[in-house]
Amino acid sequence: MALFGSSEKKPEVKTEFMFDTESTINQSTLAKDIKINGSLESTDYIDFSGHLTGTIKSSTINLKSGSYVKGTITADTITIEGEVDGDIQAKDIYIKSTAKIKGNIRYQNIDIQNGSIINADLFYSS
């Protein structure tokens, strides 16, 4: 009886463990055709190519070219290649040449590439 019980349980426990340990890097990728109305939150890394109206909050946010966000973006590090209409707040902001930004930008460090179109109020804070 005891033998049967242990042999049945073991594989189940193993698969659960593998799942948990391998997903320690929480990298989320949201593809082009995704549309979100609401909020998107993560503690790690978001690669976003879709359309969002609402708020995004994460440690690192990568707004890919073709993405569109209307609302509030909060992160430690943000890279913007797409379009943003709203408030951006981050320690490090990298604005790429394909970016289009309207709104308010609160930052500690900012890097802007040639070609980007920005109509915004910038607020520096140390």
């Binding site: 460090n109 900012i110 890097d111 802007i112 070609g115 109020d121």
Partner: protein, 157 residues
Amino acid sequence: MDENNTDMDENSTESVGDEIQSTPIDNDAKAVNIGSGVRVDGRIEGAETSDISGTLTGTLKSSNININSKGAFSGDMSGHEITISGSVDGEINSEDYLIVNNSANIKGVIEYTSLQVSYGARIQGTLRHRGSVQSYSSVSTDEVKEDEINENHEGDQ
């Protein structure tokens, strides 16, 4: 690197004395050079290149403008190609390229066509892209047009 070189050049010409300065840096170049430690108050127009390592308060219109790392400007500046490495308080209007280096400290309104900002630069104020926000630049011309129209109407009456 470039700013350091120009700063060094200015210092060396000052220290060597009149002999080098007397070689005519022809006025055809329309060059303005305000050395570090020099303060200027007023309006500069029609310049081709302006290198500011000192302090300039007022209005600056020049095709090329360099505010070097020691330079400080307050007022309105407009030009085609502008590079900021020092501090600026006021309005910047760039028709072609605006380059903001990491040592820059800018407060005010920036109107630009093409903008590049290096990581570390401090900008506090408003960014306006010249191409996309026509309402900003056309406000003044619209006012002028309205005035002209009003004048015309008055003339008709």
